[in-house]
């Protein structure tokens, strides 16, 4: 930098003065460093706990703590502050994921291992009519759950869909805002309140003590409608306005535009939302306890008499196991397993529907 620059036209540009070489990358810990840190942490924690008294939970927590401190400390010493922060955040994110996964794995394991005992043909073909002790099944509860949920869907989908169409395509001002607010409130209603609402409603017409499948369906649809409205509304909002305008410009009336363009474009998302709403209410217990009750025999008519459902079946099998408790408890676990499988099937169905209906790019 000491030389005086000659005019550029006179001489070729002078070679640049070499500066300190740019360093790309620093020293880094070996690939086994995290494993090593946690192994050391496990050993240290184990040693410490052997002195104070061993417990598995304490050991896991201590291992995580000591291992993290070792890893981040070593990283800070060798790799520098930025890499150390990176490692710390990686540990936190992974840890949060594992904590979130824990209950899921635990529930799945418990339900499968305990429910497998009675997961047989008899369980799916027999009701509990006249069964005391061993044997019997949940056929009546399975059909009850399916009927009640289907009825609830039948009520909620038209109401929810049309409400969402109103909110997105027509509603503005005070009324739309009020509806949106009430939908939000409705999605926060405890399920037992929905059950009591249906119970009170039908008591007005049928007198006290009525227990019908349709009452349960009404209670469930109180829970389901806000879910359907919310998910459908989001899906309708995603439909580009350009498509609506394209349709109007072709001389298509608004209602046909909504039915044939907006709903058609959003149908995959709407179907997914509805299926997830079904999966969400299918396991409700409290509202069905107060509105439908339970029974031991098959009842296919939701407009007359009590019906069994899987959640209430499981609940009563567990709380009132009768003479030979272990058989009833086994049935309760299998009912829970059946319910989990049903929910899983609904989620799979949602994926299939969304795959089939979604607009294809190529």
């Amino acid at each position: 930098m000491t030389e005086v620059r000659a005019p550029e036209t006179a001489t070729p540009p002078s070679p640049p003065v070499p500066s300190a070489p740019v360093r790309l990358g620093t020293r880094s810990l070996p690939r086994w460093a995290p494993l090593g840190a946690y192994a050391a942490g496990a050993a240290a924690a184990g040693a410490l706990l052997l002195v104070t008294g061993f417990s598995l939970a304490g050991w896991v927590v201590l291992t995580a703590l000591v291992g993290t401190v070792l890893l981040v400390g070593a990283s800070r010493a060798v790799e520098g502050a930025r890499k150390a922060t990176d490692r710390l955040v990686t540990v936190l994110v992974t840890g949060a994921f594992l904590v979130a996964l824990l209950p899921l794995v635990s529930v799945t394991y418990t339900v499968v291992s305990r429910g497998a005992a009675r997961f047989d043909a008899q369980f799916f073909t027999y009701s509990m009519r006249g069964v005391v002790g061993e044997g019997g099944g949940a056929y009546h509860a399975i059909v009850g759950t399916l009927i009640i949920t289907a009825l609830a869907t039948l009520i909620s989908v038209p109401v929810g869909l049309l409400t969402a169409v109103y909110l997105v395509e027509y509603g503005r001002g005070q009324l739309a805002r009020a509806i949106r607010f009430l939908i939000d409130v409705m999605s926060g209603i405890p399920s037992i309140v929905a059950g009591l609402f249906a119970f009170a409603l039908f008591t007005l017409f049928l007198g006290p003590g009525a227990r019908l499948g349709i009452m349960g369906a009404v209670a469930l649809s109180v829970l389901m409608i806000p879910l359907v409205v919310r998910s459908t509304e989001e899906m309708l909002k995603l439909v580009p306005n350009e498509l609506r305008e394209a349709s109007y410009a072709l001389g298509v009336p608004k209602w046909l535009t909504i039915v044939r363009v907006v709903l058609r474009t959003a149908v995959a998302g709407i179907a997914t939302g509805v299926t997830l709403a079904v999966a969400r209410v299918i396991g409700e217990t409290a509202p069905l306890l107060v509105t439908v009750g339970t029974t031991t025999s098959v009842n296919l008519n939701p407009f007359e008499g009590r019906m069994a459902s899987l959640p209430t079946f499981s609940y009563f099998s567990f709380t009132q196991p009768g003479a030979n408790p272990q058989f009833a408890v086994e049935r309760a676990w299998t009912a829970a397993l059946t319910l989990v499988i049903l929910v899983m099937l609904f989620n799979l169905l949602a994926r299939v529907i969304s795959k089939v209906f979604s607009p294809k790019a190529r």
């Binding site: 305008e245 474009t265 790019a361 190529r362």
Partner: protein, 259 residues
């Protein structure tokens, strides 16, 4: 086909805001009329008010008259849906329906209105419309593929085919080439030249070369400042507008001194 449109004293509002003030113009049948002007001067708004697409936006309304075939399209007994059937529109961004195939997109005007057509009839309409939009040769082997599988320029010509498939009298184009490359733009400009044999065309464009290439008449819109309404400054045949405009502002704009 191809009708004359008389616009007189048209004020266009968004709610209380006056966006375009006192436009009076005559759009001659079977010509291309270009609307030019700087951004925000209200030329797209004016275009959308010609087939009552303006009022799709909540609170938007107009005052004044737009007369086609002796009928005010804003008359109290006029159905906006009928207006849009005879005055079609092509938008800035190509917007084929993503759930429909190429053929279904062309037939959208019929299908969405639940019109029944025999198979031969609809195939004939698809071919005629796609030929009219210079797209037939490129897509005839893949009519069943989704409309979104086409390139941007092809999609825009598909949208033009869709618009002419409902056999409108007038075709409005809102910057139809602004999202397209020069080759596709050329294809659309050639198409506009052919379409004016049958249709009255009004095109909004930011590109003054394009206006001078494709149009017979040109209208220049300008705006005095932000928050002020846009106005039609001058309208004349395109050669005059670009060579010898009567207003200073027009001359400044077409010669590239502002905008």
């Amino acid at each position: 086909m191809g009708k004359r449109i008389d616009v007189s004293d048209l004020d266009i509002y968004y709610g209380d805001f006056l966006a375009v003030e006192k436009v009076t113009m005559v759009i001659e049948p079977r010509t291309v009329t270009a609307l030019i002007g700087p951004s925000g001067c209200g030329k797209s708004t004016f275009l959308r008010s010609l087939n009552r697409m303006h009022e799709v936006i909540p609170g938007a309304h107009v005052e004044g008259k737009v007369v086609m075939d002796g009928q005010d399209i804003y008359g109290s007994d006029v159905d906006p849906v009928d207006v849009r059937r005879s005055i079609g529109m092509v938008f800035q961004r190509p917007n084929p329906f993503p759930t429909m195939s190429i053929a279904e997109n062309v037939l959208a005007g019929q299908r969405l209105n639940n019109k029944r057509m025999r198979k031969a009839e609809s195939e004939e309409l698809v071919e005629r419309s796609l030929r009219g939009a210079n797209l037939w040769e490129e897509v005839k082997d893949r009519l069943g593929r989704p409309g979104s599988s086409l390139s941007g320029g092809q999609q825009q010509r598909l949208c033009i085919a869709r618009a002419i498939a409902v056999q409108p009298q007038v075709l409005l184009m809102d910057e139809p080439c602004s999202a397209l490359d020069p080759i596709s733009t050329l294809a659309i400009e050639d198409l506009i030249g052919e379409l004016k044999q049958d249709y009255t065309i009004v095109i909004v464009t930011h590109n003054m070369q394009q206006a001078s290439r494709v149009s017979d008449e040109t209208g220049f819109f300008n705006i005095a400042g932000t928050g002020k309404p846009g106005k039609l400054i001058e309208m004349a045949d395109t050669t005059t507008m670009f060579s010898n405009p009567s207003q200073k502002a027009t001359e400044d704009y077409v010669s590239g001194r502002f905008g």
